[in-house]
Protein backbone atom coordinates (compact mmCIF):
# COMPACT_ATOMS: atom_id res chain seq x y z
CA UNK A 1 0.00 0.00 0.00
CA UNK A 2 1.36 3.39 -0.95
CA UNK A 3 0.53 6.32 1.30
CA UNK A 4 0.84 9.90 0.09
CA UNK A 5 0.05 12.71 2.47
CA UNK A 6 0.24 16.48 2.56
CA UNK A 7 -0.23 18.14 5.95
CA UNK A 8 -3.45 20.10 6.08
CA UNK A 9 -4.57 18.85 2.65
CA UNK A 10 -5.23 15.16 3.05
CA UNK A 11 -4.00 11.62 2.56
CA UNK A 12 -4.32 9.07 -0.24
CA UNK A 13 -3.97 5.33 0.35
CA UNK A 14 -3.30 3.34 -2.83
CA UNK A 15 -3.47 -0.42 -2.86
CA UNK A 16 -2.71 -2.81 -5.70
CA UNK A 17 -4.55 -6.12 -5.97
CA UNK A 18 -3.54 -8.85 -8.37
CA UNK A 19 -6.00 -8.82 -11.31
CA UNK A 20 -7.69 -11.91 -12.69
CA UNK A 21 -7.71 -11.11 -16.39
CA UNK A 22 -9.27 -14.33 -17.81
CA UNK A 23 -12.19 -13.99 -15.44
CA UNK A 24 -12.50 -10.29 -16.32
CA UNK A 25 -12.85 -11.09 -20.00
CA UNK A 26 -15.41 -13.83 -19.31
CA UNK A 27 -17.57 -11.45 -17.29
CA UNK A 28 -17.33 -8.19 -19.17
CA UNK A 29 -20.31 -6.73 -17.29
CA UNK A 30 -19.35 -4.91 -14.08
CA UNK A 31 -20.02 -6.95 -10.96
CA UNK A 32 -23.19 -5.99 -9.17
CA UNK A 33 -24.25 -7.74 -5.95
CA UNK A 34 -27.87 -6.71 -6.38
CA UNK A 35 -28.21 -8.49 -9.72
CA UNK A 36 -26.53 -11.65 -8.39
CA UNK A 37 -29.41 -14.05 -7.74
CA UNK A 38 -27.26 -16.78 -6.17
CA UNK A 39 -25.83 -14.49 -3.53
CA UNK A 40 -29.26 -13.30 -2.48
CA UNK A 41 -30.75 -16.78 -2.29
CA UNK A 42 -28.00 -17.76 0.17
CA UNK A 43 -29.30 -15.24 2.69
CA UNK A 44 -31.75 -16.41 5.34
CA UNK A 45 -35.37 -15.27 5.18
CA UNK A 46 -35.83 -11.60 5.85
CA UNK A 47 -36.17 -10.50 9.44
CA UNK A 48 -34.98 -7.97 11.96
CA UNK A 49 -31.28 -7.48 12.71
CA UNK A 50 -29.67 -5.73 15.67
CA UNK A 51 -26.23 -4.26 15.01
CA UNK A 52 -23.95 -3.28 17.87
CA UNK A 53 -20.71 -1.40 17.20
CA UNK A 54 -19.10 1.61 18.84
CA UNK A 55 -18.03 3.14 15.50
CA UNK A 56 -20.89 5.19 13.94
CA UNK A 57 -19.52 4.72 10.40
CA UNK A 58 -19.47 0.90 10.76
CA UNK A 59 -23.05 0.96 12.09
CA UNK A 60 -24.06 2.99 9.05
CA UNK A 61 -22.23 0.80 6.53
CA UNK A 62 -23.78 -2.41 7.89
CA UNK A 63 -27.22 -0.81 8.30
CA UNK A 64 -27.23 0.49 4.72
CA UNK A 65 -26.02 -2.85 3.34
CA UNK A 66 -28.61 -4.98 5.15
CA UNK A 67 -31.40 -2.47 4.47
CA UNK A 68 -30.65 -2.80 0.75
CA UNK A 69 -31.29 -6.54 1.07
CA UNK A 70 -34.62 -5.77 2.72
CA UNK A 71 -33.83 -6.43 6.37
CA UNK A 72 -35.27 -4.36 9.18
CA UNK A 73 -32.22 -2.97 10.98
CA UNK A 74 -31.77 -1.55 14.46
CA UNK A 75 -28.43 -0.35 15.74
CA UNK A 76 -26.89 0.29 19.13
CA UNK A 77 -23.61 1.81 20.23
CA UNK A 78 -23.05 -0.56 23.17
CA UNK A 79 -24.58 -3.37 25.21
CA UNK A 80 -26.62 -1.07 27.40
CA UNK A 81 -28.24 0.64 24.44
CA UNK A 82 -28.84 -2.74 22.76
CA UNK A 83 -30.67 -4.05 25.85
CA UNK A 84 -33.02 -1.05 25.83
CA UNK A 85 -33.92 -1.81 22.20
Amino acid sequence: MIVQSILGEGTTFELYLSAHIEKSIATSEPFDVRSDGDEKSMLPELGRVLIMDDEPIIRRLVTDGLTQYGYEVMSAEDGEEALIL
Binding site: M1, I2, L17, A19, H20, S24
Partner: protein, 110 residues
Amino acid sequence: MEKNTWAADLDVSQITHVMQNLILTADQAMPGGGKISICGANNWITENDKAPESTLVAGAYVKISVENEGTGISPDILDKISDPYFTTKNTGTGLGLASTFTIIQQHGGL
Protein backbone atom coordinates in the same frame (compact mmCIF):
# COMPACT_ATOMS: atom_id res chain seq x y z
CA MET B 1 -14.81 2.84 -10.71
CA GLU B 2 -13.92 2.46 -14.37
CA LYS B 3 -16.60 0.48 -16.19
CA ASN B 4 -14.28 -2.29 -17.34
CA THR B 5 -12.28 -2.67 -14.16
CA TRP B 6 -10.74 -6.16 -14.03
CA ALA B 7 -11.77 -8.74 -11.48
CA ALA B 8 -9.23 -9.21 -8.70
CA ASP B 9 -8.20 -12.29 -6.75
CA LEU B 10 -9.09 -11.55 -3.17
CA ASP B 11 -10.56 -12.78 0.08
CA VAL B 12 -13.83 -10.86 0.33
CA SER B 13 -14.00 -10.66 4.13
CA GLN B 14 -10.35 -9.59 4.47
CA ILE B 15 -10.65 -6.90 1.79
CA THR B 16 -13.92 -5.73 3.38
CA HIS B 17 -11.92 -5.32 6.60
CA VAL B 18 -9.27 -3.35 4.67
CA MET B 19 -11.85 -1.04 3.08
CA GLN B 20 -13.63 -0.49 6.40
CA ASN B 21 -10.31 0.41 8.02
CA LEU B 22 -9.33 2.84 5.27
CA ILE B 23 -12.75 4.52 5.31
CA LEU B 24 -12.70 4.67 9.12
CA THR B 25 -9.19 6.17 9.05
CA ALA B 26 -10.30 8.73 6.45
CA ASP B 27 -13.37 9.59 8.52
CA GLN B 28 -11.31 10.05 11.68
CA ALA B 29 -8.75 12.21 9.85
CA MET B 30 -11.51 14.71 9.06
CA PRO B 31 -13.04 15.81 12.38
CA GLY B 32 -14.49 18.86 10.64
CA GLY B 33 -16.01 16.81 7.82
CA GLY B 34 -14.90 16.50 4.22
CA LYS B 35 -14.99 14.28 1.17
CA ILE B 36 -13.75 10.69 0.91
CA SER B 37 -13.07 9.59 -2.69
CA ILE B 38 -12.72 5.92 -3.57
CA CYS B 39 -11.55 4.97 -7.07
CA GLY B 40 -10.75 1.73 -8.82
CA ALA B 41 -8.66 1.49 -11.99
CA ASN B 42 -6.76 -1.07 -14.06
CA ASN B 43 -2.99 -0.92 -13.81
CA TRP B 44 -0.26 -2.77 -15.72
CA ILE B 45 2.93 -2.89 -13.73
CA THR B 46 6.11 -3.65 -15.65
CA GLU B 47 9.57 -4.37 -14.25
CA ASN B 48 10.50 -0.77 -15.10
CA ASP B 49 7.61 0.71 -13.06
CA LYS B 50 8.60 -1.04 -9.87
CA ALA B 51 10.64 0.53 -7.13
CA PRO B 52 13.88 -1.50 -6.82
CA GLU B 53 13.00 -2.67 -3.28
CA SER B 54 9.44 -3.61 -4.20
CA THR B 55 8.38 -7.24 -3.85
CA LEU B 56 5.60 -6.75 -6.39
CA VAL B 57 5.60 -9.13 -9.36
CA ALA B 58 5.15 -7.42 -12.75
CA GLY B 59 1.65 -7.96 -14.13
CA ALA B 60 -1.93 -6.79 -14.07
CA TYR B 61 -3.31 -5.10 -10.99
CA VAL B 62 -6.46 -3.35 -9.89
CA LYS B 63 -5.50 -0.14 -8.13
CA ILE B 64 -7.88 1.05 -5.42
CA SER B 65 -7.32 4.48 -3.96
CA VAL B 66 -8.99 5.96 -0.92
CA GLU B 67 -8.45 9.69 -0.64
CA ASN B 68 -9.45 12.04 2.17
CA GLU B 69 -9.28 15.79 2.76
CA GLY B 70 -8.08 15.37 6.33
CA THR B 71 -5.32 16.72 8.50
CA GLY B 72 -2.60 14.73 6.70
CA ILE B 73 0.20 12.65 8.17
CA SER B 74 3.39 14.36 9.23
CA PRO B 75 6.43 13.14 7.19
CA ASP B 76 8.33 12.08 10.33
CA ILE B 77 5.69 9.49 11.27
CA LEU B 78 4.67 8.41 7.75
CA ASP B 79 6.96 5.36 7.81
CA LYS B 80 5.60 4.29 11.21
CA ILE B 81 1.91 4.04 10.35
CA SER B 82 2.23 0.38 9.29
CA ASP B 83 3.82 -0.58 12.66
CA PRO B 84 1.57 -2.55 14.99
CA TYR B 85 0.55 -0.58 18.10
CA PHE B 86 1.56 2.76 16.56
CA THR B 87 -1.30 5.23 16.89
CA THR B 88 -1.83 8.97 17.19
CA LYS B 89 -5.30 8.55 18.65
CA ASN B 90 -6.00 8.52 22.38
CA THR B 91 -8.30 5.55 22.09
CA GLY B 92 -6.65 3.86 19.09
CA THR B 93 -5.19 0.34 19.23
CA GLY B 94 -2.64 0.93 16.46
CA LEU B 95 -3.78 -2.27 14.77
CA GLY B 96 -6.13 -0.90 12.10
CA LEU B 97 -3.62 0.15 9.45
CA ALA B 98 -1.10 -2.52 10.54
CA SER B 99 -3.62 -5.27 9.73
CA THR B 100 -4.49 -3.48 6.48
CA PHE B 101 -0.85 -3.52 5.30
CA THR B 102 -0.47 -7.20 6.28
CA ILE B 103 -3.63 -8.32 4.44
CA ILE B 104 -2.58 -6.58 1.22
CA GLN B 105 0.91 -8.14 1.41
CA GLN B 106 -0.61 -11.60 1.96
CA HIS B 107 -2.68 -11.05 -1.17
CA GLY B 108 0.56 -10.66 -3.13
CA GLY B 109 -0.35 -7.03 -3.68
CA LEU B 110 1.03 -3.75 -2.57
